[in-house]
């Protein structure tokens, strides 16, 4: 036990000598979370809209106003013909184009079918999909208004001819419904549908993972490359003491970083932390156990720091970021790839983060994820230790 303590102290001293690394491990996560927390935002608002109104009637102008008045669209320009639309879309200056044909006003007045064309830049499929959705919504509401008015006329005419008007009691509220179905959405956990509440925890996880994995994967390999590993081997220090000693300072750093970045997530970005801070920290430490063990495992597999870097970055961090459901939903992936994601510790941590921040889930809901992380953490640590021992002996 005393030996373990001395190893830990040595590791701390070594860390303290490398001033640059110290500033990086505390400063970088904070800077990154702030910068990327702001960047990671998929709220689609102010979609650049180009208007081509070939009708120019009060009716068409009112339709255009519906678009510009909503906070979803931002009018970037007007063209008089569809042929001039090209450069706007190619350069990406307009995302959606509203084209109102010449006979729009007349069609509305006579009860014919007015037609409207929507062009969208599909190269940004997310924004295009959502932008078209908004546009369809606005047009749908406008549509419903027209149809509703006409339907009322028809029904009143029908009543006049002696058929009882069952809709007499209905007050026209101007709701966008024609047949009467009214769907009220009730959005839980994130009523304003702020995408940032989803992505800030994701950035938090990425930042913590990168720091701890980088630290632990370079830790052992560095000694090997520089040559101090042999000096350590001849000491009577046991390998498990070496491992725990090496990882302990990194775990402490991880703990401090966790506190720092969660404080920013909650204090700065106002992401609610509904399950409480202790649970977040506890489950995060379980996750960091995994990342540290993985980093250590990597460093036992390679000979040079360059290789450690390659494997850690490409073989571990990247797949984990992409396949964990942090940014890209697992539910949208093909079945086979979904199965693969079960092997990724970050996947479980992502679920934990969402549960702890937004859903107010406690251990009663998250115990499966916690159990898996604990299990894989211990397993990875054991494997890394075994490989490490082999190297030493």
């Amino acid at each position: 036990m005393y030996v373990l303590w001395r190893v830990i102290v040595k590791e701390f001293l070594q860390l303290r000598q490398d001033r640059r690394i110290l500033s990086i491990v505390f400063l970088a996560p904070v800077v990154q979370l702030v910068a990327f927390g702001y960047a990671a935002n998929l709220d689609v608002t102010d979609v650049p809209l180009l208007v081509v109104d070939r009708d120019g009637s009060p009716t068409s102008r009112r339709l255009v106003d519906e678009f510009t008045a909503s906070r979803y669209f931002y009018r970037v320009g007007t063209e008089s013909s569809v042929a001039d639309v090209d450069p706007w879309l190619v350069r990406g200056e307009a995302q959606v184009v509203l084209v109102i044909g010449e006979g729009y006003g007349r069609a509305v007045a006579t009860g014919a079918t007015p037609s409207v064309q929507l062009l969208a830049d599909g190269s940004d499929s997310t924004a295009a999909g959502i932008g078209l959705g908004y546009a369809s919504g606005i047009l749908g509401r406008e549509s419903a208004r027209l149809v509703s008015a006409r339907a009322e006329e028809l029904l009143r005419a029908a009543t006049f001819r002696g058929i009882p008007d069952r809709r007499a009691s209905r007050v026209t509220t101007g709701r966008p419904s024609v047949g009467g179905i009214n769907m009220e959405p009730r959005v839980w956990y994130n009523p304003d549908l702020r995408t940032r509440w989803f992505y800030v925890p994701a950035v938090l996880a990425m930042v913590l993972m990168i720091i701890t994995m980088v630290l632990s994967s370079m830790g052992v390999v560095r000694e090997k490359e520089i040559g101090t590993m042999e000096q350590v081997i001849v000491t009577p220090v046991r390998s498990w003491q070496l491992i725990v000693g090496k990882l302990f300072p990194f775990a402490v750093i991880g703990l401090i970083d966790t506190c720092l970045v969660s404080a920013i997530a909650v204090g700065w970005f106002q992401v609610p932390l509904r399950s409480g801070f202790p649970l977040l920290v506890g489950l995060t430490m379980l996750f960091l156990l995994n990342t540290l063990a993985l980093g250590l495992l990597v460093s036992t597999l390679v000979r040079t720091q360059q290789q450690a870097m390659m494997i850690a970055a490409f073989g571990l961090m990247l797949p984990m970021i992409y396949l964990s459901g942090l940014i890209f939903p697992i539910a949208n992936m093909p079945r086979t790839i979904q199965l693969v994601t079960y092997a990724i510790p970050l996947r479980y941590y992502a679920t934990i983060l969402r549960g702890v921040f937004l859903r107010g889930a406690g251990l009663d809901v998250l115990w499966p994820q916690a159990a898996v992380l604990a299990g894989t953490g211990v397993l990875l640590l054991a494997v890394a230790s075994l490989r490490f021992r082999k190297r030493l002996d």
Partner: protein, 376 residues
């Protein structure tokens, strides 16, 4: 020129002694394209939906059928009237619950408003927004059907004003497949990571191993040495790019619609930028450990988050938009999407090329200066 090539050859020999890294440099990009190209998608398939029908009328069944047959939802089952919705959604497995209150059918039949509720798990706001959109479309459709029925029952004659005929046309990506949007970004991301990481360690390694002293006395200018170091990786990256494009064509039907020459020019500039950035880090870092951390920190997250790969730059705060100007992927992505998806040449993107060129020049200049100082 000959001296630069000599350095390039030396670097090639050094690199080939590490077949693991070499294999990864070429094989990994392709592997990543395959794996992530298939995995990364914002197209919502089969949103999980449960239904709580307290009305059990013909009208409510019609509405539920409309949802279930839309092909957008994955039906999870019927919920009893006293189900604890909070508990069910807390684990994150259930996305939506359609709640139809008692009396829905009678209200509709009487010509009044039939209210239904859609409870949504808003945690993943992007998916929730898309699902809400689908749901609204389904309700609009069913609503129209109800109106037609009512009119028919009331015997109302006369042409009903048709709803506005909306014709949406999506350019460049008619089926709105998110793969068309994400794969070019993935390519830019992979290339940036590759180039920065491959050169980032090259100078620092020489310093740590002690071979920097030999370079010091070599009769070469710093610029020539740096250029020579870059060349092998430039070649490797181009090879990787070719493989990636072939893969994208075969697997995701992403064809390069614009001129190949323009694509090559832009890509060379971009690769040079990434390699230059790696070299700059290499001349500044004191140890390979630091070089590694700085490379990862400065290329992985910025290229993922600040280049327009996933998150649109337009919606970010001013400060970040300014910051994104130092991320070369930002310019390359506009050009790449333009050439690959929109079939344009470099013409509309001359300003992006100018930014890229400026980036390359600045970075290589700085690296040269630092390297010169290192040599003493």
């Amino acid at each position: 020129m000959r001296k630069t090539l000599a350095i390039a050859l030396k670097e090639i020999r050094q690199v080939s002694r590490d077949p693991l890294s070499l294999g990864m440099l070429v094989g990994l990009p392709l592997f990543m394209l395959v794996l992530f190209g298939y995995a990364l998608s914002f197209d919502v398939e089969g949103a999980s939906l449960a239904v709580q029908d307290r009305d059990l009328s013909a009208a409510s069944r019609d509405l539920v059928d409309a949802f279930l047959h839309s092909g957008r939802f994955e039906f999870r089952g019927w919920l009893p009237a006293d189900a604890d919705l909070a508990q069910l959604t807390r684990a994150g497995d259930l996305l939506a619950v359609l709640v139809i209150p008692e009396g829905y059918g009678t209200e509709l039949a009487a010509g009044r408003t039939g209210d239904v509720q859609l409870v949504l798990d808003g945690t993943d706001a992007t998916t929730a927004t898309t699902v809400l959109d689908y749901a609204r479309g389904i309700v609009r459709f069913t609503d129209g059907a109800v109106l037609r029925e009512q009119l028919a029952t009331a015997g109302a004659a006369g042409a009903l004003a048709a709803a506005i005929d909306v014709r949406p046309r999506v350019w460049y990506n008619p089926e709105l497949r998110s793969s068309q949007f994400l794969v070019p970004g993935l390519i830019a991301f992979i290339l940036m990571l590759m180039t920065v990481l491959s050169t980032a360690l090259s100078v620092v390694r020489e310093r740590e191993l002690g071979t920097l002293a030999q370079l010091r006395v070599a009769p070469l200018r710093s610029g020539q040495i740096l250029l020579g170091k870059m060349l092998p990786y430039l070649g490797l990256s181009l090879l990787a790019m070719a493989l990636i494009l072939a893969g994208a064509r075969v697997l995701f039907e992403i064809e390069v619609r614009g001129p190949w020459g323009d694509l090559l020019a832009a890509t060379l500039l971009y690769l040079a930028g990434g390699l230059g950035w790696g070299l700059l880090i290499s001349t500044v870092a004191v140890s390979q450990a630091v070089a590694f951390q700085v490379s990862v920190l400065s290329s992985l997250l910025p290229t993922l988050l600040l280049s327009g790969f996933v998150f649109p730059l337009r919606n970010m705060p001013e400060a970040l938009q300014v910051l994104s100007h130092v991320v070369p992927a930002r310019y390359y992505l506009v050009i790449l999407r333009g050439i690959v998806l929109k079939g344009a040449g470099l013409g509309p993107y001359w300003d992006q090329m100018a930014y890229l060129a400026a980036y390359v020049v600045i970075v290589l200049l700085l690296a040269s200066v630092r390297f010169g100082r290192l040599r003493g």
